[in-house]
Amino acid sequence: MIESAATFAFACFALAMLMNLWKVVTAPDVADRILALDTMFINAIALMVLYGMALGTEIFFEAAMIIAMLGFVSTVAYARFILRGNIIE
């Protein structure tokens, strides 16, 4: 039962990432692009945790944590650059 549920979740998050990629390419404005990139980071975290669960190892959690931090920092840096013209004033 867990195998089929995990396969379903894998498929859902992979499809979600493809939709985000589509949005990054066709976004009308830069705010949409930032949002789509941030959502891609979050979906990547979900896929990594799922993969670690499927393999039964713990080592993917550190990678997921680092991706979570990088995603937050890069989103804030991008938004800040659009807002103020530089990142650290």
């Binding site: 867990i2 859902c12 705010a31 789509a36 959502t39 039964g56 713990e58 944590m65 938004a79």
Partner: protein, 133 residues
């Protein structure tokens, strides 16, 4: 007992997958930019929370170790998602709205996102008391 845990983990995984796909589908489906902000920041965050809960439960029930890393990731994501949404809304205000299209800003005459350097200088001059001789 095994069956119960199996059922719980599977239910968490399916719920998480549905929330994740709904969040990303909303991102390409909704029409307005500020409506599009809702789908990923809420639904996708909940989807990741479901995956992390399922992973914790799976480790505790089947792999015989308790793992608390997922709680850290969940806490971090739930703390940073509103901040990210706030920044993206500010980018929207900065690029799509003008001072005239925004609603009233309460006691001030405009919203701080629309501040120009002259506004900042004027405000700091108002706040510092004049030097006494």
């Amino acid at each position: 007992m095994e069956t119960l845990f199996e059922f719980l983990v599977a239910a968490f995984l399916v719920t998480a997958g549905i929330f994740g796909i709904v969040g990303s589908f909303g991102l390409i489906k909704l029409n307005d930019q500020m409506s599009r902000l809702h789908a990923p920041t809420k639904a996708t965050t909940l989807g990741v929370g479901g995956v992390l809960l399922a992973s914790m439960l799976h480790a505790a029930a089947f792999e015989k170790y308790f793992s608390y890393h997922e709680l850290m990731i969940t806490l971090f994501l739930f703390l940073t998602a509103p901040i990210t949404a706030n920044f993206i809304a500010k980018v929207h205000i900065h690029r799509q709205e003008t001072r005239d299209t925004m609603p009233e800003a309460g006691g001030d005459d405009h919203w701080a996102t629309h501040d120009t350097p002259e506004d900042e200088e004027r405000r700091s001059a108002e706040q510092t008391p004049p030097a006494e001789d």
